[in-house]
């Protein structure tokens, strides 16, 4: 019985985590064509923020709730800094942006190692998350449910931002037609910054969730980032819907493969599935503007 429920529920939680991580990536990629390889390190920043928050807010029960907004701000600020310092100078060179952010990612990892030590620091799970509920034989941890709720909240928040706020309208206008938006008086530069801030901030929230799984360590970002990228690739662009479906699909499929084979094989098979998927549905990735090719 729980041969089915365990991978399904655990995979959904993993998918939720991937979703939080991938939302920011999909957002910045969709709008600016920028792939931020340091996005994983923003997750890491969120995790370390949780650790630091727990040093200040001694009540473990409260600390996670405090850490969430703080992590959002910290990671968002890092993202904003990255955008202002580097990325804004190279919007015409998406592949180069990707490589520069690889450099940033290396720097941040080493920095974390030097500041916090390579050992990793403990993050304590609050009492109200420390427990589980028996679902058909699987002791479903509250922490996993919390991750799913968090992803839902992040998604809802992002959706509300895009739909109901002035900034959201500007973001959508910019995504659909940057030049037109600009002629309509939208400052796409400002919009880009907001997007980067929000996207990176979401990674910070993801970092809080990750810290509840594995504490902190400097390599934490690299663990999740490749899967998050695969989610973005499989999900296609421009629509949050694709990212949501892809995130949960990758999470659940990986969990089943892990259950049936092993974690290592699950990585291999999930990658293979994404490549096969691209064979079947490359349409989401492919548009050509016919009137001018240059």
């Amino acid at each position: 019985m729980d041969a089915f429920t365990t991978p399904l529920l655990a995979g959904t939680a993993t998918g939720a985590l991937l979703l939080i991580a991938a939302l920011g990536l999909a957002l910045t990629f969709g709008q600016m064509g920028v792939i931020n390889m340091a996005h994983g390190e923003f997750l890491m920043a969120g995790a370390y923020t949780t650790y630091l928050t727990q040093q200040v807010v001694t009540s473990t029960d409260l600390s996670i709730l405090v850490a969430l907004p703080v992590a959002f701000l910290v990671a968002g600020a890092l993202g904003l800094l990255l955008e202002v310092a580097i990325i804004q100078w190279m919007y015409r060179r998406p592949l180069d942006t990707l490589l520069v952010t690889v450099g940033v990612s290396l720097l941040l990892q080493q920095l974390a190692k030097d500041v916090f030590g390579a050992q990793g620091d403990p993050v304590h799970t609050p009492g109200w998350l420390d427990g589980n509920i028996d679902v058909l034989g699987y002791h479903w941890p509250f922490r996993q449910m919390f991750t799913i709720v968090l992803a839902g909240a992040a998604l809802a928040g992002l959706g509300a931002l895009l739909r109901y706020t002035a900034y959201g309208r500007r973001i959508r206008a910019t995504v659909q037609n940057r030049d037109l938006a600009e002629t309509m008086g939208v400052s796409t530069r400002a919009v880009d910054r907001v997007t980067f801030f929000v996207g990176s901030g979401l990674a910070g929230i993801g970092g809080v969730a990750v810290s509840l799984i594995s504490g902190t360590n400097p390599n934490l970002g690299t663990t999740y980032i490749i899967s998050a990228f695969l989610v973005v690739v499989a999900g296609g662009l421009g629509q949050l819907r694709g990212t949501v479906i892809a995130a949960f699909a990758v999470g659940v499929v990986t969990a089943f493969f892990t259950d049936w084979f092993s974690s290592s094989m699950a990585q291999v098979l999930t990658f293979a599935l994404v490549v096969v998927f691209l064979q079947l549905r490359p349409q989401g990735l492919f548009t050509v503007r016919a009137r001018g090719l240059a």
Binding site: P94, L95, D96, G103, F229, V268, V288, A294
Partner: protein, 374 residues
């Protein structure tokens, strides 16, 4: 004067390659200690892979972030043969590698068997990566997956490849990789003279690869490749399938990486997942970016420089190496996207007439993938 220019355009690059050949094959062995020469041999292996990356990325616009995979295919193919050679030298023609006895049940997987043959191994080093690259490239390019998507897929491939290696302990030695070779096609691997021989082979391989890309870059294919990089869809309406053009460059790059890996194994005496994973692949890219991705010699010299820097910087500032590497990416790509070598080309260009360079290969204009990304 004009004749001199034409002469220089055609023969200048060859002359430069010849200088590299002389430096690697005659000067270096004369002035370096065996240890440093062996180190240089290691960098040369990276440089061979770098030349391929220059072809695929610099000229073809395909950011190959997983060349470690092909480096590893060649490296492991060669290492399997060396491992079997070592086993057979001590345990007879049916002997199996020591780690299979230690970690497994002492039986050898069937697909190891042909690697007892040196000829098969040499063929596999070329054919294996080519096959993988064709299948993968076909799947990716024919579906018009490119730009950042392509880069991410190749990096994911490197991660998956390393994971697979680490998990298959009985077949590939897992995290430990393959090591403890004793001989190289019958030659004692720890004899300094033979080590120099392997170094020379690597250097010759590098020179051959350089001559090959020199010819490719001046050929019509080279022009078409650059055209594909800059305006893929336009090339389609010249009657070419861009997928095929990119595939050729991708496969050549894969084979070069494989040859680099195949020589890396005997030179360092080990090939392990950490030599082929995503980080190792990034390191390969770093050299190419530094030297100048689209230049003829840039990738190779850049790879040599990064290899040298890694050794010396880690000897001098063990903890700071990662900072250097990170900064290298940021500074070079941000301020000098065409690489250090471009400064030299620009200086040279100023000396010459104001005629345009034949192919605007060194100035990347990767707007095409942006269009598609939208």
């Amino acid at each position: 004067m004009k004749q001199l220019q034409t002469w220089g355009r055609t023969w200048g690059p060859l002359l430069a390659i010849a200088l590299v050949a002389v430096a690697l094959l005659m000067v270096a062995p004369a002035v370096l200690s065996p240890f440093r020469l062996n180190n240089l041999g290691k960098y040369v292996c990276w440089a061979i892979a770098g030349v391929g990356i220059g072809l695929a990325w610099g000229r073809g616009g395909m950011l190959v972030m997983g060349q470690g995979v092909f480096f590893g295919l060649g490296g492991y193919a060669m290492a399997m043969h060396l491992k079997l050679e070592a086993a057979m030298a001590s345990g007879g023609p049916d002997a199996v590698p020591d780690f299979m006895v230690l970690y497994g049940d002492g039986t050898m997987p069937g697909w190891w068997e042909p690697f007892r043959s040196g000829a098969f191994t040499l063929a596999a080093i070329v054919v294996l990566p080519a096959l993988v690259a064709v299948v993968l490239g076909w799947a990716i390019f024919k579906r018009r997956v490119k730009g950042a998507y392509f880069a991410i897929l190749t990096q994911a491939l490197a991660v998956v490849f390393a994971t697979l290696l680490v998990a298959t302990i009985k077949q590939t030695g897992g995290f430990n990789g393959l090591n403890q070779f004793t001989q190289f096609f019958g030659y004692n691997l720890y004899d300094p003279v033979n080590k120099r021989m392997i170094y020379s082979i690597a250097s010759v391989a590098l020179v051959v690869c350089l001559v090959l890309v020199w010819q490719l870059y001046r050929s019509r294919f080279g022009e078409l490749l650059v055209a594909t990089r800059d305006a893929e869809e336009r090339v389609r309406f010249l009657g070419h399938d861009p997928a095929n053009i990119k595939l050729v460059a991708f496969v050549l790059a894969a084979v070069m990486a494989s040859i680099g890996g195949a020589l890396f194994a005997p030179i360092t005496g080990i090939i392990s997942p950490s030599d082929v994973d995503a980080t190792a692949s990034i390191l390969l890219i770093a050299g190419v970016a530094l030297g100048g991705r689209a230049l003829l010699l840039g990738p190779a010299l850049g790879a040599l420089a990064v290899g040298f820097g890694r050794t010396t910087l880690s000897e001098t500032f063990p903890d700071q190496w990662t900072y250097f590497l990170g900064l290298l990416f940021i500074v070079v790509i941000l301020f000098l996207p065409a690489g250090l070598g471009s400064m030299w080309s620009q200086a040279l260009g100023r000396l010459r007439s104001s005629r345009p360079t034949p192919t605007r290969a060194s100035a990347p204009t990767p707007t095409d993938e942006l269009e598609v990304a939208r």
